[in-house]
């Protein structure tokens, strides 16, 4: 595996996203809509919003992740770039890493936006900012890695848009639960050991990343 190749692929994906503006013009507004709709659905009761804020945050992130993964797959599928990549000497693990890095950057940017919007709308206060930062990074690594892996499984399938959520959401559930617990602790809303859940997030991030690096090549072949 060459990190240089992974970086080239990540830079290419990020450049495409920057140019297409789908992230800023479509997915980011969608993110904000989710938060506002949650607010309305919960009757704008501040106490309820505070209590459910961490969970709502990560549910919103999962929904955003589905869109971002679909988009990452589409970039490679539209004009058969994925097939062209197979005819280069680039190791599949580099392709996986590059795609996952690009997805991570996009998701983290959206999470940052979502975080500050929720702080303002839900009147949340942060008691442990370090736990928030570190757990968000690890959870996003796990989501980006598993999203990249499951994205390639559904690539080339006609029913990709509906198949991806069915396959991916159950895999992301442990990350969402762990991240919700760490955020709940960091916001002082739940009586949980956030750093213990942080350990769980670390395990998932490592497992999904290593698994992705090993499995990606075979999955691309099969897709």
């Amino acid at each position: 595996m060459e990190l240089r190749d992974a970086w080239s692929i990540a830079r290419k994906d990020l450049r495409i996203e920057f140019r297409s503006r789908i992230l800023t013009n479509q997915i980011a507004p969608y993110t904000l809509l989710i938060v506002v709709l949650f607010g309305f659905a919960l009757d704008a009761d501040t106490q309820t919003l505070r209590d459910t804020g961490p969970g709502l945050f990560w549910v919103a992130v999962l929904l955003i992740a589905l869109l971002a993964v679909q988009r990452a797959v589409k970039i490679e599928d539209d004009d058969a770039a994925k097939e062209r990549m197979l005819l280069t000497p680039v190791h599949p693990s580099s392709v996986f890493l590059g795609k996952a890095i690009a997805l991570f950057v996009q998701l983290f940017a959206l999470e940052t936006l979502l975080f500050f919007v929720m702080l303002a709308l839900f009147d949340l206060s942060v008691e442990d900012p370090l736990l928030i930062c570190f757990s968000a990074v690890l959870a996003t690594i796990g989501i980006a890695s598993s999203g990249t892996l499951y994205g390639v499984i559904t690539a080339g399938v006609g029913v990709r848009e509906t198949l991806l959520p069915i396959l991916l959401l159950p895999v992301l559930a442990p990350i969402a639960i762990g991240a919700t617990r760490t955020f709940g602790d960091a916001f002082g809303r739940v009586d949980a050991d956030g750093w213990a859940w942080f350990g769980l997030l670390s395990v998932f991030a490592v497992i999904y990343t290593v698994l992705g690096m090993f499995a990606y090549g075979q999955l691309v072949e099969d897709a």
Binding site: K12, I16, R19, A80, A81, R84, L86
Partner: protein, 224 residues
């Protein structure tokens, strides 16, 4: 001369459908071979088989000295495949696309610039987004990516599609330059006469089998 492609009764299935039903074909290094045939004859499948993208179900098949049954992935970096789709990114410019594919095959900046120039894409087209290009310009950009790659085996599916006269001449020159430098070219064309001066053969594929194999002058074995 070395045999670059050696297929013996090769069978390839797409799902349950037998796309190639026993193809026998030998192509030597430096040859230009044009594959003709009606729609659905298996021409594109033949190219994808030779690129190591499809498994051989029955028969024997080797490309660039590697057995496709056991080692089809190892040949891929030496293959340049131009299919119906161009393998480009719409939101990158011509130069960014060629540079990206160049970086994937370890080509330098100079090679990228030369490839862009060779395909007539320097000047104002260089910084144009691929989504804004005409079909012919996209085709040229895709070819520039192959020029950068400098593959040993060129597999071209309708290489003249969407190109104007100048573009067709350019592609013909490229094919002949590639063959002259020792590369082998297998191309699929509905209109083989567009290749103005190929030094190669014409192979006809129908129903997943080769039905004739003749050289430019018309001589040949008549069947596979």
């Amino acid at each position: 001369m070395n045999e670059v492609i050696n297929l013996q009764e090769a069978v390839v299935t797409l799902g349950q459908f037998p796309a190639l039903t026993g193809v026998t074909l030998q192509v030597s290094q430096g040859e230009i071979v044009t594959v003709c045939g009606p729609n659905g004859a298996g021409k594109s499948t033949l190219l994808r088989l030779c690129a190591g993208l499809l498994p051989v179900r029955e028969g024997s098949a080797s490309v660039l000295g590697e057995d496709l049954h056991t080692n089809r992935r190892s040949i891929r970096p030496d293959i340049g495949l131009l299919g119906h789709k161009s393998g480009l990114y719409d939101d990158l410019t011509v130069e960014e696309n060629v540079a990206f594919w160049g970086s994937m095959v370890r080509a330098g900046d100079l090679e990228v610039k030369e490839a862009i120039k060779y395909m007539g894409l320097d000047g104002r087209l260089r910084n144009v987004l691929v989504r804004q290009l005409s079909a012919g310009q996209r085709r040229r950009t895709s070819f520039a990516g192959l020029v950068v790659q400098r593959p040993s085996l060129w597999l071209l599916d309708e290489p003249h599609a969407a190109l104007d006269t100048e573009g067709r001449d350019l592609v013909n020159n490229l094919i002949q330059d590639a063959a002259a430098s020792g590369a082998t070219v297998l191309l699929v064309s509905h209109a083989p006469k567009e290749l103005s001066s190929p030094s190669g053969r014409f192979v006809t594929l129908a129903g997943g089998q080769i039905t004739s194999d003749t050289n430019k002058e018309g001589s040949g074995d008549g069947t596979s």
